[in-house]
């Protein structure tokens, strides 16, 4: 069974937000408008965070693209009273909009702020949207799904052709767009895949590893060193 994961090389990331916009176009994420943005309600499944280095008088800054980290031990699923969010067998944290009652417990539980709430119906179905992804309505929580619909398509195609999914056949929109090739996506269970090789790099680290969430999005730090 595949275990889908992602490696993000912070040495290469230029903070351009191509991943952010690619995600919005792929997953029909709307712009919420100025008023809602001022209330901190921007929905951005992939978000570029910044970190300043206090030791150097904030002179250093780094960009950290943050999708849902798809934790192997996710805090968000455990608090959901209606099983709207759960870890599927391939390691992707799924979100079932029809079950969601909008209690936002999962948002409170997520240490990475990767979950977003639809305070209003921000958009209706309209031209220009991706037909593979449903438009969410008011009152539900949404988040990055590792472009799960792309996995479904790839799997259907492979099934029809009576074969396994090939490496690279399933890729997320953010990884596909990244101009610096800082985002690598693939199967962590396959020791030969690029993503699992990079995940074993000495530069690799995980966000807030101490919480024991076991994220499957792994970062590579800047500077010299292998990998």
């Amino acid at each position: 069974m595949a275990l889908w994961g992602m490696v993000i090389d912070l040495d290469r990331c230029t903070g351009c937000q191509a991943c952010v916009m690619a995600c919005k176009a792929e997953n029909n994420v709307p712009a919420v408008g100025q008023k809602e943005a001022e209330r901190g309600r921007i929905i951005s499944w992939m978000q570029v965070l910044t970190e300043t280095d206090e030791e150097h008088h904030s002179e250093k800054m780094r960009f950290i693209p943050r999708p849902c980290l798809q934790c192997d031990d996710p805090p968000c699923t455990k608090v959901c009273p209606v099983y709207a969010t759960y870890r599927n067998p391939e390691g992707i944290i799924a979100q079932i909009y029809n079950r969601c009652i909008g209690c936002r417990f999962c948002m409170a539980a997520c240490p990475y702020n990767a979950k977003y709430f639809n305070w209003y119906t921000y958009q209706k179905e309209k031209p220009g949207q991706n037909p593979d992804v449903s438009v969410r309505e008011k009152g539900v929580v949404e988040k990055c799904t590792f472009c799960h619909h792309r996995l479904q398509k790839a799997r259907e195609r492979a099934h029809a052709e009576k074969r396994e999914i090939e490496p690279g056949e399933y890729n997320t929109a953010c990884a596909q767009a990244c101009p610096a090739q800082a985002i690598i996506f693939g199967d962590l269970a396959d020791p030969g895949s690029e993503v699992s090789k990079l995940a074993r790099s000495p530069r690799a680290f995980k966000l807030q590893e101490e919480l024991g969430t076991k994220p499957k999005v792994i970062y590579l730090t800047e500077g010299e060193g292998g990998g």
């Binding site: 090389d9 040495d11 290469r12 230029t14 903070g15 351009c16 937000q17 191509a18 952010v20 916009m21 690619a22 919005k24 176009a25 792929e26 709307p30 712009a31 919420v32 408008g33 100025q34 943005a37 001022e38 921007i42 951005s44 570029v48 965070l49 910044t50 300043t52 008088h57 904030s58 002179e59 250093k60 800054m61 780094r62 960009f63 309209k126 031209p127 220009g128 949207q129 991706n130 037909p131 929109a173 596909q176 767009a177 990244c178 101009p179 610096a180 090739q181 800082a182 010299e224």
Partner: protein, 807 residues
């Protein structure tokens, strides 16, 4: 034949666009059958290659369509410029296409300017053509002014052709740089007539003077890919990157070293680095001795002694003086010099940074001198030059007497004359000259792909000037500041709806030409402006019509592209492995293998895959890169000297050009990269310097209708929807300003109200305002005086002083 939906669409012509038109309009049996199928069939997914038009980067797109409706955008994996990746702006294309404020068809001015009512295309076109004929018959063809924005390729070609055949010298481009031309400094020092390119991905050290490499330089995707190579590549150690910039831009954040500098002193710093390199003997002696001119002192034919670059730098640009002027410590200058000398290959860029200030040309020359000292001209990982595209030449333009008479008139913008002798366009002067009717009144104005009233530093004056023009035609797909002033709007398609071409001229050196068919049929009653131009010329008859022997824009492309096929080189892009095998034949056996039997097959493949390129055929030798009179890199520009001599002959020693340049006072220093020392910065009334910059998320045209980009414009400060000013927290503290306060930023010219954002990544006496593309957002250009630079013809946008107070 088994009749499936797929075959049906293929019968209809294959393009997604064609399919939709057919569905809507055909009432034949086939059409009805299509409607029947429509009821139950899953929409068919068709991927259409296209070209991103959000910046001059020229990335190839793959547009996902379902039954002709655009449902997604991604990079074209075959395209050599971006290889499948894109920048955030690419996705804004979806929001432009489906923007519901788009004009639904042609509009005519109702009564007052700014009020419109719909009009039919035929009527609208006859309004234009009758006026054009009338002006021409009265001998006033030259009073037609065409303002064009940032675009290139055959659309530019058609407008140029129209201006010439019709008989107006006034085809004026409104843009901050011309990607198809080399910087003047490069022409003067290397004699090159096509743009230089930089082998960034193979460089081991990049020294950048304010070029926003990773944001808004020549193409952010290509630059980011090169940067990724510099950072991590399996074959070599991690590269080194130094950014000189008054502001810690995202590019500076990613640099290994950020050198904060006093704005406008980049040239001083470059010469300071040269000084250190010369004193420590760190420059490439071999290259400098054999391939440069004017390094050592020299004597000319009439036995006049001239100072060389070396002594100039040692005399006038001591490290202490440079450090005092630039604010860069002596230690840092020496360290940069040593890095340049020891890390090879090194490349110095700074070509399209912000305007460097009034001494722009010499600043660029000074920066470029470092490339000669490093000796990286024509080496791997250094400087290269764009190859030429072998496009077929179009039939010659026919001119009659009326055209010749019109073309003989001076230009309205004053470019190419007096102090603007070296400049091809000076939009900065337009408001005043149109207002005063110098040298003659404008009778008709075409606005194509530009919205000067949004960004021109003298927009009030331009607005009043435009009111004096009796007939204004805009081709904007939107009702924007400028099109609102028009008498007639003939909306263009947006880029995913039209045939497009893009000769990319500013990259790693290889030549590339993209062609795109419409990804979707037009959503509204709009027309491709290129087709409209062809239609207009038909009605003018005579030599004007003869100069345009095409029915539609596609025919123009088809004719021009034939040259690529006939050149017997290069490849239509395709998957890497297929192309590799063709290239291997060329490399191993030395001959080029044709992939296609005839031109039709070539054309079809080109339209299916999106681009043609020639990865091998670009000039690399130092001979191709050094085309000066001496055949060497010229520290002392003889080409410049020649230009000045010619001007002196033409207009005398007291002419405007000679005076503005200060030919007499500056003597030899004019032809050397000698920047003037800027005056010390003391100004109690306006103690701060204003630096405006272009965000990565800002597309050509501002992007006011692209909510995704406006909602998350940047990440280095927390910002959304509204523009802001970046202030150092310590500066803010002395002014009593808190984070997120509303402040007035005031200059001598005007004031704007924006939010203050604290940012430590700046020199303390400089504040920074991004150019945010949204109509209601305050525009920093309103603070900037309307001064044109005599070498570039564009405004000096980085010399303004401001003060800030709480609003």
């Amino acid at each position: 034949m088994r009749f499936t939906r797929r075959t049906f669409l293929q019968v209809l012509g294959g393009t997604a666009g064609a399919a939709v038109v057919a569905k809507g309009q055909l009432s034949s049996k086939v059409g009805l059958a299509a409607q029947d199928i429509e009821r139950w069939a899953t929409p068919e997914e068709v991927m259409v290659p296209s070209i991103c038009q959000q910046c001059p980067g020229g990335c190839g797109l793959m547009v996902r369509t379902h039954d002709g409706e655009v449902t997604g955008i991604a990079g074209n994996p075959y395209h050599p410029i971006n290889r499948g990746s894109v920048c955030p702006k690419a996705f804004g294309g979806l929001q432009i296409l489906y923007d519901n404020t788009r004009l639904k068809g042609p509009m005519v001015r109702a009564k007052e300017r700014g009020q419109f009512q719909p009009i039919e295309w035929d009527k609208a076109l006859s309004m234009v053509t009758s006026r054009l004929s009338e002006l021409r018959s009265k001998g006033l063809s030259h009073t037609v002014l065409i303002l064009g924005g940032q675009y290139r390729g055959y659309r530019d070609n058609l407008w140029r052709r129209f201006a010439e055949a019709y008989g107006t010298p006034n085809y004026v481009r409104v843009r901050c740089f011309s990607p198809e031309k080399p910087a003047l400094a490069h022409y003067l020092m290397q004699g090159v007539t096509s743009p230089l390119s930089y082998d960034l991905s193979k460089a081991q050290l990049i020294l950048s003077f304010g070029a926003s490499l990773l944001e808004a330089w020549l193409g952010p995707v290509h630059a980011a890919q090169a940067f990724a190579q510099l950072r991590r590549s399996s074959e070599r150690p991690r590269g080194w990157f130094i950014q000189v910039d008054p502001r810690r831009s995202p590019t500076a954040i990613k640099a290994d070293r950020w050198i904060p500098i006093v704005p406008g002193t980049d040239g001083m710093l470059a010469l300071g680095i040269a000084n250190a390199m010369i004193r420590e003997g760190l420059y490439d002696r071999d290259f400098v001795e054999k391939q440069t001119f004017g390094f050592e002192d020299w004597v000319d034919d009439s036995r006049q002694p001239h100072m060389g670059f070396k002594n100039l730098v040692l005399r006038d640009y001591s490290l202490v003086a440079v450090s005092a002027a630039t604010g860069v410590p002596v230690k840092s200058i020496i360290e940069i010099a040593r890095s340049l000398a020891t890390i090879k290959p090194a490349v110095v860029i700074g070509e399209r940074g912000p305007a460097y200030g009034p001494d722009d040309l010499h600043t660029r020359m000074a920066i470029h001198s470092l490339n000669a000292l490093v000796g990286n001209i024509g080496v791997l990982g250094g400087l290269r030059i764009q190859g030429d595209l072998p496009l077929a030449s179009l039939p010659p333009i026919r001119r009659d007497e009326a055209a010749n008479r019109g073309l003989a008139q001076p230009r309205i913008d004053g470019a190419g004359r007096e102090q603007y002798l070296l400049v091809s366009d000076t939009t900065q002067l337009l408001p005043e000259r149109i207002m005063n009717g110098t040298p003659y009144p404008v009778n008709m104005l075409f606005l194509f792909a530009t919205n000067p009233l949004a960004n021109h530093p003298a927009k009030q004056a331009l607005r009043s000037a435009m009111k004096k023009i009796p007939f204004i035609v805009s081709f904007s797909p939107f009702l924007d500041d400028s099109s609102a002033m028009a008498d007639l709007i003939l909306p263009d398609h947006t880029y995913l709806e039209r045939w497009q071409d893009d000769p990319v001229t500013h990259l790693a050196g290889f030549t590339s030409f993209s062609v795109a068919r419409p990804a979707t049929s037009p959503l509204h009653q709009t027309r491709n402006t290129a087709d409209v131009v062809l239609q207009i010329t038909k009605t003018q008859g005579g030599t004007v019509a003869e100069s345009f022997p095409w029915k539609k824009f596609e025919d123009v492309l088809h004719q021009g592209v034939h040259g690529l096929y006939a050149a017997k080189r290069g490849y239509v892009v395709s998957t890497t492995s297929e192309e590799e095998s063709l290239r291997k034949v060329l490399e191993r056996q030395g001959y080029w293998v044709p992939e296609f039997q005839d031109y039709d097959a070539f054309w079809n493949a080109l339209v299916q895959r999106g681009a043609w390129w020639d990865p091998t055929g670009f000039p690399e030798s130092s001979k191709a890169l050094l085309k000066t009179a001496s055949g060497k890199f010229e520290f002392y520009s003889s080409a410049f000297k020649r230009l000045v001599n010619e001007a002196a002959k033409k207009e005398g020693k007291d002419g405007r050009f000679m005076k503005t340049l200060g030919v007499e006072q500056r003597g030899d220093l004019l032809y050397l990269p000698a920047v003037t020392t800027p005056p010390t910065e003391e100004n109690d009334q306006f103690p701060l310097r204003l630096n405006t910059y272009r965000l990565l998320s800002r597309p050509v045209g501002g992007g006011g209708n692209q909510p995704w980009l406006l909602e998350q414009p940047a990440v280095h400060v927390r910002a959304s929807w509204e523009s802001w000013v970046e202030v150092h927290p310590e500066t803010a503290a002395t002014l009593g300003i808190q984070e997120e306060d509303w402040v007035w930023v005031e200059s001598e010219k005007g004031r704007i109200r924006v939010r203050a954002k604290f940012y430590t990544g700046t020199r303390r006496n400089v504040v920074h305002i991004p150019l945010m593309g949204r109509g209601e957002n305050p525009n920093p250009n309103d603070l900037i005086a309307n001064e044109p630079d005599i070498f570039r013809g564009f405004g000096l946008f980085n010399t303004t002083r401001v003060r800030i107070r709480r609003a």
